[in-house]
Symmetry: D2
Subunit: 357 residues, 4 copies
């Protein structure tokens, strides 16, 4: 036992350490044998989210008020940091016709994935981007951005941010813009039209920017690739038919701190289980199914969001034998890879499928 090993005077010695700004390493557990996380698997229902956002529309009217009508998804294990996983913020946002979410910028990087509605806009650094269901819109770190809705129907989207990561790294900067709206200095959807057209680049444009210069990725384009891969029968055993959004000027991650993926679960398919040192938040864009996370089944359907903690065994299943299920997700793969901390492990028992309850 520990006490037997310690000499006379140990107690006094230990008592004195704190005053010196010290602690015996052998008195604290510092490195766990495997990753531990306070985050829990959790599902937020789409109907509930829509309902609460509608109520927020009444309550939070935006006149001279809060900057964004955003409901943060708070993981039950992470209430102290109001985060979805230890590194990721996920939220839903609604903007009613005529409303404006004023211009600001911050070092946390954000993405928007449009859940419902079309025709509203995000402006990023002078480029107005029209938003439609299934589109992905990027606001890289420290870019001026604002949102508005000039249509006659509300729009609702998912916000994804690396805010907990940036916050734990003590690297948060925030700045409001002088005006509500920034000037639109570029043609609409300018960056998408610049880069989406067939893998060419202007001859005068050099270099490999860290953040993707393309700010909108259209659902139709990405879905076309997913369908093509599904036709080819190409799929990952763990992620089914899945693609990552990339930076057109590097072929690498679109954003250095936040990964974005779209995955198609073919009818009737269930993936094998694995786990990794990255966490994720999923939005069920189409279909219904379930995920088995650390031996427990979580059902989901269109509109739901769910959190996957780090190092949790997980597998996904499409519950329909006729319809596709499509999941959008954000993750912290890019930072974990950049820091050489990404690990992955396949579940080998039971042919790769977890038992669940």
């Amino acid at each position: 036992m520990l006490e037997q090993r310690e000499a006379t005077g140990a107690e006094e010695f230990y008592a004195g350490l704190e005053g010196h700004g010290l602690q015996g390493l052998w008195r604290v557990q510092t490195v766990s044998p495997e990753p531990q996380t306070a985050a829990q698997p959790h599902v937020w229902r789409g109907a509930m989210l829509r309902d609460q956002l509608m109520r927020a529309c009444d309550v939070m009217t935006m006149e001279r008020g809060a900057e964004r009508r955003v409901l943060l998804l708070v993981n039950p294990g992470l209430r102290a940091i109001t985060a979805a996983t230890h590194t990721l913020t996920a939220a839903v946002q609604m903007i009613k016709p005529g409303e404006i979410a004023p211009t600001h910028r911050h070092t946390p990087t954000a993405i928007r994935f449009i859940i419902e509605g079309r025709g509203a806009y995000t402006t990023v650094e002078g480029e107005k981007l029209i938003m439609d269901e299934g589109d992905l819109i990027l606001t890289p770190s420290w870019t001026w951005h604002d949102h508005g809705n000039e249509t006659d129907r509300p729009i609702m989207w998912m916000d994804g941010l690396d805010r907990p990561l940036v916050s734990m790294l003590n690297a948060s900067f925030f700045e409001p813009y002088a005006d509500e709206r920034q000037a639109v200095t570029l043609p609409i959807d300018c960056s998408q039209r610049r880069y989406a057209g067939g893998h060419v680049r202007p001859t005068w444009e050099r270099g490999a920017p860290t953040f993707s210069p393309q700010h909108a990725y259209r659902f139709a384009d990405v879905y076309a690739t997913l369908s093509h891969l599904a036709d080819l029968g190409e799929a990952s055993p763990y992620d089914e038919v899945a693609v990552e959004y990339v930076n057109p000027l590097t072929g690498g991650h679109a954003l250095p701190t936040l990964g974005c993926e779209l995955q198609l679960l073919r009818p009737g398919r269930r993936t094998r289980a694995h786990r990794h040192t990255s966490s994720a938040v999923y939005q069920v864009f189409r279909g219904r199914g379930y995920s088995v996370i650390d031996g427990r089944r979580y059902d989901w359907e269109q509109g739901d969001l769910f959190a996957l903690p780090t190092w949790a065994w997980h597998e996904h299943a499409n519950a329909s034998t006729s319809d596709e299920a499509i999941l959008f997700s954000i993750n912290d793969v890019p930072p974990m890879e950049a820091l050489a901390l990404h690990r992955e492990q396949a579940y080998t028992a039971n042919d790769g499928y977890q038992s669940y309850k």
Copy 2:
């Protein structure tokens, strides 16, 4: 004078050197003050090329015959190597309905740019690519490829190769395929559909291949980007609205030894002159105009090809004030950059425009 500097016995000494496998550096001029090239500016007329190809169809019937009905563009200064510039081969090829150009592979990399006709195919490593006017088709180094025409009309395209470069580097390998046609093992236009859809990549696909894995670039896609840039008013003073075809997985050159560009000269525009240590061959895809090369004017119109030697001052002009001119070109920029030998110089006199005759 040289003789005065030399001591008695010099002549005998020099005479003996060759027998020892030596030569006095001071007796030969080895490094020129500026690049020298045997290549000359030269235009090959489209009408002539088409006519000669039609004649070649009669003469060179392909039954058990030559592998390709290809007319090499021979630069008047480079007859010894039957090349268009010191590093580039350019040629025109025609395939009649029902014909096949049998399968082979070689270390020189090739591209095809379709001048006229549609519906014929190139197969690259099991992927059949349908060819249409203005499309670019890649056959990277050492990939099996064959061509065929299953339509009822001839097809004509430009071939571009780095053959002179590979040949001067003593790195030519060639291999015929066992059969005329290779098996088509992948869906038609597979790589284009995999990569062209909106800048995503399968999550299981890693790495940055040296050669573009996308084998076809469609004219409509590239032209859309050119038009967008033209709308933005973005252009190079030397190249007008120009884009380079890139590798979707790196954002860099599509091919390590051969650059491919498409450039749009807006109506009435004339570029400023510059020169560089890269050479090029242009195909006039649409429109008419002229280029001033080292002080001499070369007119061109749709269908023509012309060679631009290394380090020659050059500028391009669209002769129409109403119609666009579109030039496709191949160049040796990628190897010159890779070897840190690329240089560029702007023509500064006369506001950047050469006088010409």
Copy 3:
């Protein structure tokens, strides 16, 4: 005021959010205008550290006991995580003659910087590295390592780890070795001899490893470079004559999550102030001087360690006009750069020097 903006039912609405796993973004402050850190500037005195370690030698005898006789430097603002800054662990360790710190491995990366003594060893993946004053020894992530002292005098070093970073990213793995000591399978100082000899690499060795394959950097070598730079008069206005330890196979950071630097303050020199989104812990290897951190002066002398929090204005001064001061430091520059979160700002008032008390 906020209340005025909120409609009837707001209170009830807010009360219900938590039960749904939600929170209104406008109810929490999430992104600070500038970085905030709980860490404080703090100095640990060398005499005190040595004294406490000597006492620990009596108290913590290691027989079947704790794995390492390590005193963690606990920042007064970071007691909850027993860390020196929010991302860095710093500690002092002592091993008495005959003692062994048994073999284990963990995903946190560690470095040792030898403060006092010579001749003890660290073994890393079968390579025994002899430790001498001023040397830097690396134990990259997940490498087996153990320490021992076969001399007749105690050895004392500084430990630096990215443990808080790895821990906040939920990526800690730890594994003990089957035996106390791992087998020494390679010649002593093998990696240093392989890479330190004049910038060559074996022709059969390819690639760019993420972690430096050189495990020991000798003080004499690094000091020679510092002296040379000092002779040249080359120095940074903020860091004086400072070098970073690099990976010989990439020229980049030696470790992806932990930066290591050695800096020489020439006699009488005082740097200008700046701040950055990286934190650091310094060990005063030679000399005496002071640092001004956020307007307060902290004196230091040989043997002291001190912590520099993120985004704190700081400048360093050598208090001697005749002797050099040498500071070793660890920092989180590599991860901050990898995540595109590194920022730096020069102090412009008062010619770059802070007033202090």
Copy 4:
């Protein structure tokens, strides 16, 4: 037969092609099945080289004369380009006490490997580098350089250049300096002292330069690494104990167009044969032995140089059972790799050893 395949009028058609600047691809052989080179294996004897250089000292006195007393090694197959292989120039140079080889610069990159003598200098961009036996001195593309001998004995070295490569790429630029000597603006051996000291880099120095910023590599340092590898028993089956000189800021090739290697053949060792699409020129720095190239044996001893053409089978043997043999060599591996044209093949018959005569 070909004639049978050709229709009436073929002859006339072919006759007309040349006038149109065309040639039928099927009428010329363009791509060989395997690399063909005009270069031949060839040995230049050290005694002969020294003798001819001494004679050149009498004949070529340098007063207002030729810029360099350099004897080019002319491959018997490459007299037209006075080159050692198709891409490499090799030569020997001698400078007598008091002589100066005046300052100039050119786009071809050069290296010097010191064969005999010590104390003379090369100045590169203001940095004076003292030359000693076995040292490697770099003069990267377009750097001002001059040589001089302030000692009382002649110095003799090997020059290696990529001149044939640069020349075939039409990229030669040359410029004389205004004065004979450039100003020495940096401390002697400055770059070596900056980078050779233990793998650190100044914190203010960023980026990955294409050309090594270290201009001298000392024999003693490189030999120490070779000896260490020999002690470890690490060696390539084809190159024995061989290292490449690298760029300290990238870990890659020291020069983008010219590879430099030093290899140690342990007593009694004979390598297995292989061939590759790179060529090389060797200088026998120490020892004696032989190489078998395409089935023929070439003996060599200290002071000899020999050329290895592309794609020639080759193996090297140390003829002594007691003494090491050391070969320095230059090659075109870096450009061939950069252009994705490097290939290597092992000789598999006869346990890897060629029969020879």
